[in-house]
């Protein structure tokens, strides 16, 4: 929106039409966006503040009378507990592996979607299926594929009896597979959108100048779609960091496969230990804030396009 079409209408004599318009516009703008503000803040800002307060208390729903102020001791307990650091490491491992794999695979998907001549429509339809599928369903599909009793994977790999979910890293591997399968289509569509923005003529010019396909990719295509890549990376990294559904369905957190979101859920909902759980919630929020900060300030991710400002 660079132009505001206000010039042609000058009907009201006496009053300066522009200022009435501007004021009316401002008021209308506020009215129209007010419900969005309310709904978005109601369920995030207030509960987060409430969590902040609860995190400074010893408070279990099973013992509501025993609520007492304990200062930062919940945080001290969590940060000195190996469970937190275990969950942190699991979350970090899943995030790094899935985001890296999705980026590579997503790039390849994006190139295929860009260059393919026949069957472009059916290809995009196919790729949207994993995107749209319910995460829990994907988790069950992959869990049963690798399960000792119902799965075909052991049969096909000729390693019958191997329990994928009995070991931390093999379980995390299957969790990552499900996550990658479901979310690569999304990242590939974002990358495709960035890819089509790279001007065709500078690619041609590089080709004429004798650049190899590899050089064109690194010197021409990637630098020209840096913004799209960084935005895709930011969103996928935060999404992976918040992973919950896959570990819940596949391992229920067994064998050190619990993630930070899972820990927050378990403390708050399963154990109804709201004091300690809220401290986990606040820490989870802080880790997300730090990741977002790193992307925006350190990697200079340009979010103006996402926000839609000019």
């Amino acid at each position: 929106m660079t132009t505001v079409h206000s010039a042609p209408i000058q009907t009201e004599p006496g009053k300066p039409a522009a200022s009435v318009r501007v004021r009316g516009e401002r008021r209308l703008g506020l009215y129209l966006t007010l419900p969005s503000y309310v709904v978005m803040l109601l369920v995030t800002a207030y509960p987060l503040g409430y969590a902040l307060v609860l995190s400074l208390h010893n408070f279990r729903l099973t013992d509501p009378q025993g609520r007492s102020f304990v200062g930062l001791s919940n945080y001290v307990v969590i940060l000195s507990d190996p469970i937190w650091w275990n969950d942190f490491a699991t979350t970090l491992a899943i995030t790094v592996v899935t985001v890296a794999a999705e980026l590579l695979l997503g790039f390849w998907f994006a190139f295929v979607m860009l260059r393919i001549i026949r069957g472009r429509g059916p290809l995009r339809t196919a790729i949207l299926i994993p995107y749209g599928i319910v995460t829990v369903v994907s988790a069950f599909i992959w869990r049963y594929a690798f399960a000792v009793d119902s799965g075909f994977v052991n049969q096909w790999l000729n390693i019958s009896g191997f329990d994928w979910f009995g070991d931390r890293w093999s379980a995390i591997f299957v969790i990552c597979l499900s996550e990658i399968w479901k979310t690569t289509p999304f990242i590939s569509l974002l990358l495709l959108a960035g890819l089509v923005q790279v001007p065709e003529d500078i690619q041609e010019a590089a080709k004429v100048d004798g650049a190899t396909a590899w050089q064109r990719l690194w010197k021409v295509i990637l630098p020209n779609m840096k913004a799209a890549i960084m935005v895709a990376l930011l969103f996928r990294t935060l999404d992976a960091w918040r992973i919950f559904d896959n570990p819940y369905v596949m391992t229920n957190g067994a064998n050190n496969t619990e993630t930070i979101s899972f820990l927050a859920y378990r403390q708050n909902v399963t154990l109804v230990n709201l004091g300690m759980g809220s401290a986990v919630s606040v820490l989870l929020f802080l880790t997300v804030a730090v990741i977002a900060w790193i992307f925006i300030k350190v990697f200079k991710t340009d979010l103006s396009q996402v926000r839609g400002d000019q």
Partner: protein
Amino acid sequence: MTSAKSGKWWTIGGIVIVLYSFFPLLWMASLAFKPPSDIVSGSPQFWPTTFTLENFAEIFSQTLFTRALINSLGIAILATTVSVIIAMFAAYAIARLEFRGKTVLLSLALGIAMFPQAALVGPLFDMWRGLGIYDTWVGLIIPYLTFALPLSIWTMSAFFRQIPWEMEHAAQVDGATRWQAFRKVIVPLAAPGVVTTAILTFFFCWNDFLFAISLTSTDSARTVPAALAFFQGASYFESPVPYIMAASVIVTIPVVILVLIFQRRIVAGLTSGAVKG
């Protein structure tokens, strides 16, 4: 490399991607049509030995599933409808008006999209019990609205930016009020963007698991993703696997239908927020 030759390679790449997308679905369908005895036979095959519809008959005879399906549909449709309406107003303002708070709103939406939802389940669990909306439709619809709104606002405002707004002015010059111009001229033009936004929002609500297991305790509001975790075999010794997969097939059907009909729109919608349209 001739272009015909490279075209062939891209086609093969396309086939690989199609297999990638559908292979896990085949596995799901295979399990859903397997007799339960196939699963514990000790030498599981990819394909069923015999196809059976028993698993589907079984899940539809259980209120655990039928109630959950009704809850899922009802909650997702209601949350989507409300979210789209709220976002429609906001997106119109963003695309069309100059006012303070526009950037604030878009930044807030960005913040909400990054927000770790698991950080909220504790406080919401406690608050909802206090308010008496724990384990109700409303209790799930409210957080779905909150977290679907950023997606709705971005997608819709990206579409709204492409609308020829001069037509609104033409209508206003012809004597229509701002509201009439919005309703009679802009709404029909905006319909494609609204439909796309609704589909993406519906997928989001349909997919949720975290809130669904945290804020429900009975089948009065439990949705299908949450209910899947509660499935049992027909008897204690029987595996729940084919029932869970049959239920999974059912919840995947709406997704496949929407993708088949609206493929173009969904792709446009997903990418519109990330790049300037």
